[in-house]
């Protein structure tokens, strides 16, 4: 590098691969980079899985225990004490069904909502598409969801052998789509919160009890059919409501399948996803200065 190369600033015919500039458009999402880093995504999922069970005796079995105990508590509190009806489904099956979906949603949201703060160390040292981290959370949680679905199936088989009629209908084919919807909704809300809390952390305080409140506004411990007419609209606005109802219908044959409202959930989810990815990409460029 001699002096002549330093001072010239006139444009040559060079074509640059990358230009780093302060102002970026809201639509500069660089989603194609995600594809280049797909190996990282898979390795991250593997890492989460291995790291979670290193030096535990029960390993993945822990995923059985958490919903199992929650279900037992629900059966006692809401079933025996409060006597909330469960659409003629055996209470354990009813609660577990809603909990499985809810657990996936809440673990996706909680896991992605601190993306920036929890990973600021690594984000400050090396560049890779930041979305990889929340995506890996979604996928690792999908593995756990799979394990919990096995538990749910096991309990279903148990009740089927004891005489309970399980009506698996054609609606079962909706289930993969419903799960994707839940995952995307959790991801969208999670990364939106993570982007909004890098500078002002007030929102992070909200998540803890916000999630708890949201759970009661979702038909997990009660069926939609039990809700008085005047509250139905409010609870109906919760996009998770119709997903869980349809999920129950698909597996157990009880619950409402409201296609227009499912469409509403899906549209809302897509809109949230687009907005949150835009905010997320905007924030990822400078968050290191304010985190």
């Amino acid at each position: 590098m001699d002096k002549s190369t330093i001072t010239t600033n006139k444009d040559t015919a060079d074509s640059w691969d990358m230009i780093i500039e302060p102002k970026t458009s809201w639509f500069d999402l660089r989603l194609h980079e995600l594809w280049q880093y797909k190996d990282l995504l898979l390795i991250m999922v593997r890492r989460d899985f291995i790291a979670a069970y290193k030096q535990t005796i029960l390993g993945p079995l822990w995923h059985f225990l958490q919903p199992l105990f929650t279900t037992i508590v629900f059966v006692i509190v809401f079933g025996r004490i409060a006597r909330i009806p469960t659409d003629n489904i055996p209470p354990p099956l009813f609660y577990l069904c809603g909990l499985t979906v809810w657990n996936y949603f809440s673990s996706c949201l909680n896991g992605t909502s601190n993306t920036f703060i929890a990973n600021s160390g690594i984000f400050g040292k090396v560049y890779f598409p930041r979305l990889i981290i929340p995506l890996s959370v979604i996928l690792s949680n999908a593995v756990k969801l799979g394990i919990q679905l096995l538990l749910l199936l096991g309990i279903m088989v148990y009740y089927a052998t004891t005489g309970f009629q399980i009506n698996i209908g054609l609606n079962i084919f909706w289930i993969p789509i419903l799960i994707v919807n839940v995952a995307v909704l959790g991801l969208a809300l999670g990364i939106l919160i993570s982007a909004l809390t890098t500078k002002y952390r007030d929102m992070a305080v909200l998540i803890g009890f916000g999630m708890q409140l949201l759970m009661y506004a979702t038909p997990i411990i009660y069926p939609m059919s039990f809700i008085p007419e005047k509250y139905k609209t409010i609870i109906g606005l919760n996009p998770l409501t119709w997903i869980i109802e349809a999920f129950r219908n698909g597996l157990l044959g009880q619950g409402m399948v409201n296609l227009p409202m499912l469409g509403y959930s899906a549209l809302l989810t897509m809109a949230l996803l687009i907005i949150s990815i835009m905010v997320f990409s905007k924030v990822e460029k400078t968050f290191m200065d304010t985190v």
């Binding site: 190369t5 640059w16 500039e21 390795i43 991250m44 040292k125 290191m288 200065d289």
Partner: protein
């Protein structure tokens, strides 16, 4: 030769102090200006980034109007004091943060190594971590697989490769991490201070590796380091940053000389007058330091007219005595005659016989065999980075009589 990095008017502003309600009002003000299509009201304020002085503004420019080009295959050192903007520059180049204004244009794939072992998970085995770290640094699984044996071989931890890295010694950890980074398939490698870790053998090995990839594959390397010897060995040209601006660009040796000659680079010792002492050292400063000699100025505060000897001890990096020189304690006739008040002396050290390395200077003021007036350990530091004789022979004088070092006194 083509240009692979072009930095134009690059600036980065930081806000000082905590993020809180104060910054919220600034944010709102900023949004308000933006909504009316006006300029950011805080982009004009902001001061030069000087650590020591207290400024008036909440905003500082960590980098201000940086311009330079780097050619393919160049090995460029970036030097400067703490807080000069080196790390900020590297952060922008490696895209972990955005500039406030200006732009950087880059041709080719960039791999940045701002820390070794970024993303290493303590519970995973060395093998898994190689893949994880490689992927974080931008390698595909296939690339890592292809170079896996080479990486393990370079790291020298083959025996432990299936053990979780939390059981590694810190040296092994660093070796493994650096090995992954050294085998990155990138066009531009950005390295920050990572050579400060690992044992001497490994440091040499990693410098050699960087040299090799640069020469064989035409890889462009940017190295930030406080280790002048490493910079001198690896880099053909260098950039000196000072208070967020470029203070010099050019041949590494010239730039390093300029950097070391910079008076504000910490080569000074200062102390308030302590009334409990009769005679004391209040200031010492390296005035001139080139490759041949070192001139030190000292100030001695005395309560009354007195005689005193000045002893200088030079120790090496390990605090082992290297040389001793004295005015007065070996030959009482040479003692300094201090006046009441401030006394100034200038001492010259001939560097011809110093081996490469870091040296510390301690000063003692005594009345020989009677009393100690003042004693300051390691008040100055200097580094010999280049053999002054320009030949490869280095020797230390072997005369072990005290006073073999002659200090000239020019009052």
């Amino acid at each position: 030769m083509s240009k692979v990095i072009r930095v134009e008017n690059l600036s980065k502003q930081y806000r000082l102090g905590e993020v809180g309600t104060g910054s919220l009002s600034h944010d709102i003000n900023r949004l308000w200006h933006k909504a009316r299509g006006k300029e950011d009201p805080y982009s004009k304020v902001g001061e030069e980034n000087k650590r020591e002085t207290k400024g008036n503004s909440d905003y500082v420019w960590a980098l201000k109007d940086i311009n330079f080009d780097i050619e393919q295959g160049d090995r460029v050192g970036i030097i400067g004091r703490n807080g000069a903007g080196k790390s900020t520059l590297l952060k922008i180049l490696s895209r972990t943060t955005s500039p406030t204004c200006g732009s950087v244009k880059i041709k080719g794939k960039v791999a940045s190594l701002l820390e070794v072992g970024t993303g290493f998970h303590p519970d995973l085995s060395g093998r898994d971590n190689i893949f994880l770290n490689g992927a974080i640094l931008g390698m595909s699984k296939r690339e890592v697989k292809r170079r896996f044996d080479e990486i393990v071989d370079f790291s020298g931890v083959e025996r432990y490769i299936d053990t979780p890295v939390k059981r590694y010694s810190s040296g092994m950890y660093v070796r493994l991490a650096f090995a992954v980074a050294a085998h990155l398939e990138s066009d531009i490698l950005i390295v920050d201070e990572v050579l400060a870790v690992g044992d001497a053998e490994f440091q040499k090995k990693s410098l050699g590796k960087m040299n090799q990839v640069s020469e064989e594959k035409g890889k462009t390397i940017l190295l930030v380091s406080h280790n002048m010897q490493a910079i001198l060995n690896l880099c053909s040209s260098s950039i000196l940053l000072n208070n967020g601006g470029v203070a010099g660009i050019g041949d590494t040796l010239d730039i390093i000389t300029k950097y070391l000659a910079d008076k504000s680079s910490g080569n000074i010792f200062k102390k308030e007058v302590d009334n409990s002492k009769i005679i004391q050292l209040t200031r010492s400063e390296i005035k001139i330091c080139d490759f041949k000699k070192l001139i030190i100025e000292i100030e001695i505060e005395s309560e009354a007219e007195r005689e005193c000897s000045i002893d200088m001890r030079i120790t090496d990096r390990l605090q082992l005595p290297f040389a001793f020189g004295s005015i007065g304690s070996l030959n009482y006739d040479e003692k300094c005659h201090l006046r009441k008040g401030e006394n100034r002396y200038s001492l010259t050290i001939n560097l011809a016989n110093f081996a490469l390395g870091v040296y510390y200077i301690s000063l003692d003021l005594t009345n020989p065999n009677i009393e100690y007036y003042d004693r300051v350990e390691n008040c100055l530091q200097f580094e010999v980075i280049k053999d002054p004789s320009h030949e490869n022979k280095r020797y230390v004088m072997q005369n072990w009589n005290y006073g073999s070092y002659h200090l000239k006194i020019n009052e």
